[in-house]
Symmetry: C2
Subunit: 329 residues, 2 copies
Amino acid sequence: MLDQNLPTEAQLSAAIDAAKARTEVADIYFVACGGSYALMLPAEYAMDRQSRTMAAHALNAAEFKARAPARLGTTSIVILCSHSGTTPETVEAARLAREKGALTIALTHVAGSPLDEAAELSIHYSHDPKRLEPTHSPAVLARLTFGILAAREDNAMATALDAALNQVPAIVDNAIAAHEDRIAAFAERHKRDTVIYTMASGSNYATAYSYAICIFQEMLWVHSAAIHAGEYFHGPFEITDFDVPFIVLKGLGASRAMDERAIAFVEKYSERVTVLDAEELGLGALPADVVEYVEPLVFGTLLRVYSDRLAFYRGHPLTVRRYMWQMEY
Amino acid sequence: MLDQNLPTEAQLSAAIDAAKARTEVADIYFVACGGSYALMLPAEYAMDRQSRTMAAHALNAAEFKARAPARLGTTSIVILCSHSGTTPETVEAARLAREKGALTIALTHVAGSPLDEAAELSIHYSHDPKRLEPTHSPAVLARLTFGILAAREDNAMATALDAALNQVPAIVDNAIAAHEDRIAAFAERHKRDTVIYTMASGSNYATAYSYAICIFQEMLWVHSAAIHAGEYFHGPFEITDFDVPFIVLKGLGASRAMDERAIAFVEKYSERVTVLDAEELGLGALPADVVEYVEPLVFGTLLRVYSDRLAFYRGHPLTVRRYMWQMEY
């Protein structure tokens, strides 16, 4: 365990140093549940895009434990996340990984929590759902990922990523202010919908997934599914009709062409499409090779403000739950 | 290109021999779109569970091309699938992989198709959606996966897998006959539903995903999402209510406990749950270490018969499309 009074920066450095000190790292597993699992997907994406020496795998924590990958062992790094640090599946996954000799690094908001205790190293992040600071969980995970890439390979993007993350708070604030009218119109337009789909690709699929399962299904009791923009034309697009609502994220990274193709189709056959375009949000000002690792964070934070307003118009606060935290399950 | 008159068995052997002949294989990519992508997920699962030397990655073909994994190269095997062999994204993925020096192996129903031409090696499979023979695509892919494991590692499960696959046609036929009344009741019960969820975990998540996007969204225009049983408690379960329909697959593999936990909850709060239990389907007769690689095939075939009846009761044949094959997109 790290001293729990250490600030995020020192914990992040210690985790990167520990990753560097490993003799061999063949695999990096990103393991969590729900919203924290969604957080892991851009990190897997970044490793797939960037790493020549480490294979990346994002898995739900219960799936990770049941699957018990044959490669899991002393050549593995396992990065876990639980906001409260109490998610039992994630704590068990940390224990399994540690038993197998993997380097375990936990991200959590709560020092002294079971996950904090179970992992070899921890990073404590700060939190505010309507802002995105470099010490918040998605930014900390991106910094950890590129820090490990810098430490173990000749990847030089960490500096540019840090610079981009420093610009994110202003980009988010500006986007929220600029979207004020659109946020109100969105909430009015969708206040009685029973189904709203999300769609994205590349690093932004994570935000679409998180929004579908945590905001729509969990917090608003609206039916939803995250549709991968590349999968859309191979099944899901048949559900499109003039009155079927979609939120689509248009990224600036490698998968922008995929998003554009899906948007051209969905806007032709549905009258109820909300497109958030990274370019329009001001993300085009960031370096082209870094923007795709930052944009899911900006989309996620802006969309949180969209959902706050929608929740108000529906009379269903995002804090209401019928099962979660209400009972044993 | 292989001689297109070669039967499936010889093509399968040639592909396994080619995989064995590679000096080093660090990664195996499973690449396709839609229903064929779903087919790849149990293969990725099997490699994760079994392989110590090869890291597995399943990706939608457009995502694969855009992501352009840094590790893709001469130490990669890329397995692709397109039924018609004409899926442009999958053909482009095969070309990219081949340019990078990867061994490319295509599964397709159509000899001489663009994918057949683009890949270094091909395996032509036979097809009948309501049966499951060892020469059908999911079985061929399982045999290829365990054939590669046998050829490159000391994995001895291929023989037991082959024996299990030989038992599958009878298991499927018996299950369809035994479920006759349940199939009719299911179709009656859900003929007017606008939303039906699917849920599974482990190797069976693939079948839940395929059913959600290809049967419900694409063929029946019913809103749907595949919920991972391990993710269910971290968001999606809040959408559960007395009248929300779910189809849940209960496997016999490593993730059975995950399925059982989700089923206990969903059956408590929804009155409209259809559980298909691998044990009840006769899969318990197969060896415990092999059954999880076979059961998604059995679930998929049985569920196809469920959807045929549901389509009839809804007056919406599974062959009807409004966009697919009707226009350019």
